[in-house]
């Protein structure tokens, strides 16, 4: 498996987070130069240092994915430092829990802006540069099983992720003949800070303890255990490789059987 991404430059957004860090480490192990980006520049630096510690190449960049100019600036930096980005994984994302009737328009807009608009901005910017250079590449967006299920306490999040699934279809078909492969993964319940924060917030809504709230969620997963960031990173790596060149615009559920379609 070693060396599938030798010589390639990979951009990871939300790279300081749980899934983003797992993806960055995996791509670094397989030979890519990993541009670890995050809203938190210092968080990105910590992950880039871990990639380098395991013998890989990485740089860290502060990037707010809701800002198109920020994305262009970071892509310029990365291009100057390591070359054109031909692999991209969009992991930047936010979530919050509200009863449907209490969900504010501000919260709705903020979530759509980061999760959906942020994904669009990055996919388009990376693909434009790749196409201008005549290069081929692979892009994976991290959507969520929430895109395919009802989300009574996170309608905004579910809608943003369903938007990502459809965005990936459109981008996948639009870019297929340019050799730019765009797909998504839909994780289920991953052992990260986001999941812990969700259950702290849900315990406020449901009155269950935080531990009980998470335990019940895990019980409902057919595969019977919580998902690790590596479970996600393995599938992301597959979709970034030539093994997946005939897959166009798909959203692969990596969720232990929580969702289908």
């Amino acid at each position: 498996m070693k060396g599938r991404f030798e010589g390639a430059v990979a951009l990871v957004t939300g790279g300081a987070g749980g899934i983003g860090a797992g993806v960055a480490l995996r791509l670094g192990r397989e030979g890519a130069h990993v541009a670890v980006t995050d809203l938190s520049g210092s968080g990105a630096e910590v992950v880039a240092a871990r990639v380098r510690q395991q013998g890989g190449q990485a740089s860290a960049h502060a990037l707010d994915v809701t800002r198109a100019e920020d994305t262009e600036r970071v892509l310029d930096e990365v291009e100057h430092l390591a070359g054109t980005v031909s692999l991209a994984v969009t992991c930047a994302g936010i979530d919050s829990q509200f009863d449907f009737l209490d969900l504010s328009l501000t919260e709705w807009q903020k979530t759509i802006e980061v999760n959906l608009q942020g994904t669009f901005v990055v996919i388009q910017a990376v693909a434009r540069r790749l196409k201008a250079k005549g290069g081929k590449g692979h892009i994976v967006a991290v959507a969520s099983a929430a895109a395919k299920r009802p989300n009574p306490t996170q309608a905004h999040y579910g809608a943003s992720k369903a938007g990502v699934v459809n965005l990936v279809r459109s981008a996948g078909v639009a870019l297929a003949r340019d050799g730019i492969v765009v797909n998504a993964v839909c994780p289920g319940v991953v052992d990260t800070d986001m999941t812990r924060a969700i259950h702290i917030e849900r315990s406020r809504l449901s009155g269950l303890s935080e531990e009980e709230s998470l335990a019940r969620m895990i019980q409902s997963i057919p595969i019977g255990r919580i998902q690790t960031v590596d479970d996600v990173a393995h599938v992301v790596a597959f979709l970034l490789s030539h093994e997946a060149d005939y897959m166009v615009g798909q959203a692969v559920n990596v969720c232990g059987g929580l969702a289908f379609d």
């Binding site: 003949r177 019977g224 690790t228 093994e243 005939y246 798909q250 692969v252 990596v254 059987g257």
Partner: protein, 261 residues
């Protein structure tokens, strides 16, 4: 890619056909001992012979997947002669073009027997033996984009392939607690004898040249080229590998962008 399947025994039904033989070659090259099982003993022997000539491990076996007895014999012989069958790929399948109003009930029964019942018998047979032996395993069924969409002139085939997606989900849920994963792939238009036969049958009805018909259907694929058995094999191999450990009950469209859900 290294040897992802070293020490594994992988049953490939329809192993004498285009997708089956392509998949068997890839799995054997990555270390598996492949059992090439097919209704046509000649083709099974030929494919197994070719794989052995390449220096890999393969055994031919005749099977009619519509018969419980025949599937049991195949599995018992394989366990005895080769070892525990812990991976399986069901590629056996048939198709016949005919107008919906003329589709005879007997043809419906035959198509459902091979494509759907045959898939069920193999999944259940492999799983029963693994559960009894306390072993884990992974299986992939070959469905089709026809299982996702409408097909006026192969209604029986489309129904059988939609059924395959369903049995994959149900068996995945049933087998998760035993550490087994079951998934499907939905290929699009693959360069195999089945596809060429379809073009011949359709051209007989319309009077069109079969090559022109094929060119026209390939033009409709967003990716712009026909699918190869290797394109399908790579996705199957991924789903059989440890990297897909958290993926179960899923049907992956590997189709150049023809279908989504």
């Amino acid at each position: 890619m290294g040897q992802r399947f070293e020490g594994a025994v992988c049953l490939v039904t329809g192993g004498g056909g285009g997708i089956g033989s392509g998949t068997a070659r890839l799995l054997a090259a990555e270390g598996a001992h492949v059992i090439i099982a097919d209704l046509s003993q000649d083709r099974a022997q030929q494919v197994a012979g070719e794989i052995r000539e390449m220096g890999f491990q393969a055994s031919p076996h005749a099977v009619d997947v519509t018969s419980q007895e025949s599937v049991d014999r195949l599995l018992d012989d394989s366990w005895r002669d080769v070892g525990p069958v812990n991976l399986a790929v069901t590629c056996a399948g048939i198709i016949k073009i005919q107008p919906f109003l003329d589709l005879p009930a007997a043809d419906w029964d035959r198509t459902l027997a091979v494509n759907l019942k045959g898939t069920f018998l193999v999944i259940q047979g492999v799983a029963r033996r693994l559960v009894q032996a306390g072993r884990k395993g992974r299986m992939v069924a070959v469905s089709s984009v026809a299982g996702r969409g409408a097909r006026a002139d192969v209604a029986d085939y489309a129904a059988s392939k939609a059924g395959v997606i369903s049995i994959v989900r149900s068996s995945a849920m049933a087998l998760a607690e035993h550490g087994m994963a079951v998934n499907a792939v939905c290929p699009g238009v693959v360069a195999t004898e089945m596809t060429y036969a379809i073009q011949r049958m359709r051209s007989q009805d319309t009077g069109e040249n079969p090559e022109e018909m094929l060119t026209r259907s390939v033009t409709g694929i967003p990716l712009g080229r026909i699918e190869t058995p290797e394109d399908v094999a790579k996705a199957i191999a991924f789903l059989l590998s440890e990297d897909a450990g958290y993926v179960t009950g899923q049907a992956l469209n590997v189709d150049g962008g023809l279908e989504f859900d």
